[in-house]
């Protein structure tokens, strides 16, 4: 078992801001290029309208008032009114469409990450708290929303305004314009230094948030256990520590992030003072008239506003990159088990299964979980796997459905290596009834239908009847339409197993795998179920793992598995005759129930 990730563990940090992450984000904008172009047109139109306002004021002051021209004032008012209309129409468009682009992008990103995690192996889910996966699909993606939609687009319009202003400044007085850029390098240094620390701070913060989320998730999922042990206080303490740590890192991060604005503001004021100084003292070959100087200081404001906005955007981007990284990192986890490029769908399976000297270990150089397992099963046979827990029984069936790949040797179904066929076609023909029965929130009917999505109601009832689930389902308040909650928390464990059984029954798989399928079912139900199981086993290759020997005695072959190897194999009778491990197991079980003959005789 590999070392796992818990809520206490931080994940690794990357030092540099990864430019590839940004490129990947931009790729998400790709499909919406046309829409973005339209929005940009609207945004630029809006900036032009906004720029026109001071100009109109200038006309009023310089032209209309000295000339006492009432008609011109009227015309100007009309033009202004039209400008407002144009501006607001554009604003309406922008409000709607920016949201659309942003949401579409997030939707695509969320979907990509969701579909990606569907391809990841069990080990991915087993090796980290589920809260950490959840936060990536939902919360992290949401944090990007503002940055990537409105942020990005207003930055483009800001850059536009910045350039227009710069051009005007250079046209008005290029020496003064040059001089007024002198402090920009200082600003860049400030921003770069901050960026370095801010990035680290946000990475740490996102880590802590991920840990907190994992802890919250686990606490809610395990709240019954906590209550059972009356350990609420300790859990609360750990929670507060986790939350406190998020708060501290948050404060650190904003302490750095919020320093950006004071820097920009101070540099801008200093530049303004410097321009006054130059204008007044004519230092550095600057010769300007008073009018030009005052106009120029006006433009300086127009110059700094977009810079502040761009700075803020950059700030957000740094923040977002901490989350983006986590998102892309998840998308980059390679599914261990994938179709080969030349994989073909497997034909309807007859049911011949061969394990050829299979060796399996979780990681290279690790312990062999299975060691040279070799067996051959004919179509239609029922194979029982017995042996102590942890012997490798579940691993064998996981290899058969190709949830893992063998380390050495091969697994063949109908003579085809499972690695040469498509996963989809293989797994669709296998029915696995797992130890952990999972019931989704939804109606009982929907849960059974999970086995065959196009099943009719009659088929569902038939499947339920076959596994003796019909009776209890009918007794539920709304029968098959009864809504069961997540994990089926309102059902008993045995009832959940019956539903899961019906699901497999409905799926009508070619190869059937029952992994401790009846452990929580009472004797009477099990007995009734037995007929259903026997029907299910008929005519298809089946693998049965069970501790109750009653379920397995009738198997065509029994494998006794211990320490990753098949120690004994044969029929029930053969194995008993061998007087080996199986025989001992059988005897011990029998001893447990040793009949007190006297008792029965009394009866």
């Amino acid at each position: 078992m590999a070392q796992r990730n818990t809520f206490k563990e931080d994940e690794e940090l990357e030092e540099k801001l990864n430019i590839h992450d940004l490129k990947r984000v931009v790729r998400y904008l790709g499909p919406y290029k046309a829409l973005i172009a339209k929005i940009l047109v609207a945004v630029i139109t809006m900036s032009l309208c906004a720029v026109a306002v001071p100009y109109m004021m200038k006309i009023v002051i310089d032209d209309i008032i000295p000339n006492k021209d009432m008609t011109k004032l009227g015309i100007l008012a009309g033009v202004f009114f039209c400008l407002i209309i144009v501006y607001e129409v554009c604003l309406r468009y922008r409000t709607m469409e920016i949201m659309r682009v942003g949401q579409l992008m997030l939707k695509d990103m969320r979907r990509d990450i969701f579909t990606h995690i569907q391809t990841l192996p069990f080990s991915y889910f087993d090796s980290r708290p589920h809260g950490k996966i959840l936060i990536r699909v939902v919360n992290y993606v949401n944090t990007l929303s503002d940055t990537l939609s409105s942020g990005l687009i207003s930055v483009i319009s800001d850059v536009f305004t910045l350039f227009v202003t710069l051009i005007i400044m250079f046209v008005v007085n290029w020496t003064l314009a040059l001089w007024s850029l002198i402090l920009v390098p200082l600003l860049i240094i400030w921003v770069r230094v901050l960026q370095y620390f801010q990035r680290i701070a946000y990475q740490k913060l996102s880590n802590k948030q991920s840990n907190l989320n994992a802890y919250i998730h686990e606490s809610i999922a395990g709240v019954k256990t906590t209550q059972t042990f009356a350990r609420e206080k300790q859990q609360y303490k750990i929670f507060q520590e986790q939350q406190g740590s998020v708060r501290d890192h948050w404060m650190k991060a904003v302490h750095i992030q919020f320093l950006m604005w004071p820097g920009v503001q101070t540099v801008s004021t200093a530049t303004l003072a410097f321009v006054y100084f130059l204008g007044v003292t004519h230092f550095g070959g600057v010769g300007v008239t008073t009018g030009v100087l005052i106009a120029f200081t006006g433009y300086l404001n127009n110059f700094w506003n977009p810079i502040i906005n761009i700075g803020n955007f950059y700030n957000q981007l740094i923040t977002a990159s901490a989350y983006l990284e986590r998102i892309f990192e998840t998308m980059d986890v390679k599914p261990e088990i994938t179709d080969r490029p030349d994989a073909k769908p497997i034909a309807p399976i007859h049911g011949k299964v061969d394990f050829n000297d299979v060796v399996f270990r979780y990681e290279e150089g690790g312990r062999n979980i299975l060691n040279l397992v070799d067996f051959h099963v004919e179509p239609g046979q029922t194979i029982a796997l017995v042996g102590p827990t942890g012997a490798g029984k579940t691993t064998i069936i996981s290899l058969l459905s190709r949830f893992y790949d063998v380390s050495e040797g091969s697994v063949e179904v109908d003579g085809k290596d499972v690695r040469d066929v498509t996963l989809n076609s293989l797994r669709r023909q296998m029915g696995v009834m797992l130890q952990d029965t999972f019931v989704f929130s939804g109606t009982v009917k929907e849960n059974i239908r999970y086995g065959k999505l196009d099943a009719t109601d009659a088929e569902i009832v038939a499947a339920a009847k076959a596994v003796s689930a019909h009776e209890f389902i009918e007794e539920l308040p709304q029968g098959y339409e009864t809504f069961v909650e997540e994990r089926g928390s309102t059902l008993s464990a045995g009832q959940r197993q019956l539903i899961a059984f019906a699901r497999v029954m409905l799926a009508d798989p070619r190869i059937l795998i029952l992994d401790e399928a009846t452990s929580s079912i009472d004797t009477r139900t099990e007995e009734a179920l037995q007929a259903g199981i026997n029907k299910l086993l008929e005519g298809r290759t089946s693998f049965v793992i069970a501790h109750r020997l009653s379920t397995i005695e009738n198997a065509d072959k029994i494998f006794y598995i211990d320490r990753g190897q098949i120690m004994e194999q044969g029929t029930h009778a053969e194995l008993l005759a061998q007087r080996g491990m199986y025989w001992r197991l059988y005897e011990s079980q029998y001893a447990m129930l040793k009949v007190n003959e006297a008792e029965l005789k009394k009866a």
């Binding site: 407002i84 939707k107 827990t389 989809n424 009832q495 004797t523 029930h572 011990s588 447990m592």
Partner: protein, 648 residues
């Protein structure tokens, strides 16, 4: 709890509701307010200085004043930005602290809720309440507050200045503001349900993804990735649609709000221009008005967005308050935790039905009494109420009628902490935390001492539960970290770990709810021997399907549809020839494989070689045992499989 919700709170507005959480940081808000006020004064000073530079230095040519003015300009600006930085930090800390208290309360509240709440509430939904909803509140407290303040101060002071310059123009400008106010109110009113819908949609999305992650094994086993993606798309689309509803609401109102704000410029130009032209106002006054106009325009333009933020805050408050106001059905008894429970248990006329389904009693008229140190076995069909019965002992539910007495005292009068720390249930759904095996076993024991019990103790407990061997076989042994819920371990391993965890808690009453169902019988026998040795004075309840697990009990209860149909010791019940006896015989039959057992005479160990015959005989003797018929049937069909499936 930082704040105990009372009935009175329910009527409070969101601001008054949140205040108690924020109150301890009131000092920060006051400090922030002072800094805020100073900053506003300094902001006014900046245009005054630049005005002086223009008037005195540039126009009048008093060059010697240039450097002092510029110095003052830079200095004031620098002081101002850092003052602003200061109050921003105060407000951030303020918001963080308030949310810290709020989420802590949510967490604490959650742990006081009973099983019926969790049976009906999705994890993803609770998670949204503890993460995205609280974030909306933090955003409101740390950011929206001072931005609203900013807007009001700016708007107010600009208004004052304008009225002192020319009241007619100022009046014309302010005439527009009521319209803006009405529009903003309308927009906010419409936005409220949308925000509520958005956060609900998010909670559903969250729940769906959460369930998908939890159920990933089933998804893969049935190759339902595409189906899951379809489901996900539905929720993903819905979330986007809800956000687009918000955009539509914004697009409906924002341009009007913005247009009217923009209109202020128009009014300034027309009416101001007219006033100047008609000689009623000076040109200078018009220019000054123009200079101040942005101070009323900006707040008005922002009003829509700020109101949106406030609505988001309101919507989130509702959800959080709903969680905090849930009244758990199981209420804590008054009184200090006591030391030790002896372990007498008595059920007196106990009936129980789930609150959402009161017509179907899960338990009816349960009566039994046992003394400390007894062993009780409970047998019954799937769904017959076994788990519910034992859950009543630890008060995870309270009985609908009757009472459960622990040491002669109503369970409802025991402090919950005492009760639950002395009653350990090994649940059917084993839950392990993603932590090391050692930490998991020590989970309950840590409560008493505060620090972890020593390694030796943990190992001993694991050994009693039959877990030591497989744990030691793992590469990292007791330091192996198990996945959430114990994924990656087999069912039997999980069960043994949770048994070890319960034993390490040293309870007076130990309840094992089908704890060994996935454990092989050999190991189970070992565990039982160990338990017998160590149990001593512990009262032990065992729910099981295998007779072997409970046959040594002092009292065996057979449940059927929530009623005790048989009770007694193994011997009594076998002699009674009732349901227990029937099950017992079936298990013997199934165990021995009635039909396929090889020649029994060859089995020297079997003193009861005639067992199969005895079973058959008694089946004949026992009238109307339809279940026995089923045994025969199943045996037959198994033989069929044997016959045509395996051998050709």
């Amino acid at each position: 709890m930082y704040v105990t919700p009372t009935m009175k709170d329910q009527a409070k507005g969101p601001l008054r509701w949140i205040w108690p959480y924020a109150k301890p940081d009131a000092g920060r808000v006051i400090a922030a307010f002072f800094l805020f006020a100073i900053e506003k004064v300094l902001i006014l000073a900046i245009p005054i200085i630049t005005g002086l530079v223009v008037d005195e230095v540039i126009v009048k040519g008093e060059h010697e004043k240039l450097m002092p003015y510029l110095g003052a300009l830079i200095a004031i600006s620098a002081v101002r930005v850092f003052i602003r930085y200061g109050y921003q930090m105060f407000m951030e800390r303020f918001g963080q602290n308030a949310v810290y208290r709020l989420v802590s309360d949510e967490f604490e509240k959650l742990h006081t809720l009973d099983f019926s709440y969790f049976n009906h509430t999705r994890i993803g939904d609770i998670m949204s309440r503890m993460t995205s909803d609280t974030d909306a509140i933090r955003h409101f407290l740390s950011w929206v507050t001072y931005n609203v303040g900013d807007a009001i101060v700016m708007f107010g002071s600009a208004l004052v200045v304008m009225y002192t310059i020319d009241w007619r123009l100022a009046l014309a400008l302010t005439a527009v503001t009521p319209i803006i106010f009405v529009l903003a109110r309308l927009m906010a009113k419409n936005a409220h349900p949308i925000f509520y819908a958005i956060r609900n949609s998010l909670a559903r999305l969250n729940s769906m993804v959460e369930e998908n992650i939890e159920g990933n094994r089933v998804v893969k086993a049935f190759v339902r990735e595409d189906y899951e993606t379809e489901k996900f798309d539905e929720h993903n689309d819905d979330f986007m649609d809800k956000n687009m509803d918000l955009a539509a609401n914004n697009a409906k109102y924002i341009p009007w709000l913005d247009g009217f704000s923009f209109g202020l410029q128009l009014i300034l130009i027309i009416f101001g221009g007219y006033l100047v032209l008609s000689g009623n106002m000076s040109l200078g006054a018009l220019v000054t008005f123009d200079g101040f106009l942005w101070m009323i325009e900006n707040p008005l333009r922002q009003a829509g967005w700020l109101l949106n933020d406030i609505q988001r805050f309101n919507a989130s408050c509702i959800k959080i308050r709903r969680l905090l106001n849930v009244t758990p059905r199981v209420q804590e008894a008054e009184g200090e935790p006591e030391d030790r429970i002896k372990g007498d248990v008595e059920f007196k006329d106990v009936s129980f039905a789930f609150p959402d389904d009161p017509k179907h009693p899960v338990l009816s008229d349960i009566n039994f009494k046992i003394l400390a140190g007894s062993k009780v076995g409970i047998l019954g069909e799937t769904g017959s109420g076994k788990s519910t019965l034992v859950h009543l002992i630890a008060r995870f539910y309270d009985p609908t009628f009757g009472e459960v007495l622990i040491d002669g005292k109503d369970a409802e009068r025991w402090p919950l902490e005492t009760l639950r720390s002395q009653v350990a249930i090994v649940m059917q759904d084993t839950f392990l935390f993603s932590d090391t095996i050692e930490e998991n076993i020590a989970f309950g024991a840590q409560r008493q001492t505060g620090d972890r019990p020593d390694e030796h103790f943990i190992r001993h407990m694991a050994a009693v539960a039959g877990a030591d061997d497989f744990i030691r076989a793992m590469p990292q042994g007791y330091n192996t970290i198990v996945g959430e819920r114990g994924v990656g371990l087999s069912g039997g391993q999980k069960q043994r770990l949770s048994l070890a965890r319960a034993l390490a808690d040293d309870p007076s009453i130990l309840i094992m709810d089908d704890t060994t169902s996935a454990v092989d019988m050999e190991t189970e026998a070992e565990i039982q021997t160990h338990l017998r040795e160590m149990a001593g004075q512990k009262t032990v309840f065992t729910i099981a399907h295998r007779i072997s697990s409970i046959k040594d009990s002092d009292l065996i209860l057979v449940l059927d549809r929530g009623r005790i149909v048989e009770r007694g010791t193994h011997e009594d019940l076998v002699a009674a020839h009732g349901r227990y006896w029937e099950i017992y015989r079936k298990q013997l039959g199934l165990q021995a494989g009635v039909g396929t057992f090889p020649d029994s005479e060859e089995e020297p160990n079997r003193q009861d070689g005639s067992e199969a015959a005895v079973t058959d005989g008694s089946a004949e003797g026992h009238s109307g045992s339809s279940a026995t018929g089923a045994v025969g049937g199943s045996t037959e069909s198994s033989t069929d499989v044997d016959g045509d499936g395996g051998r050709h």
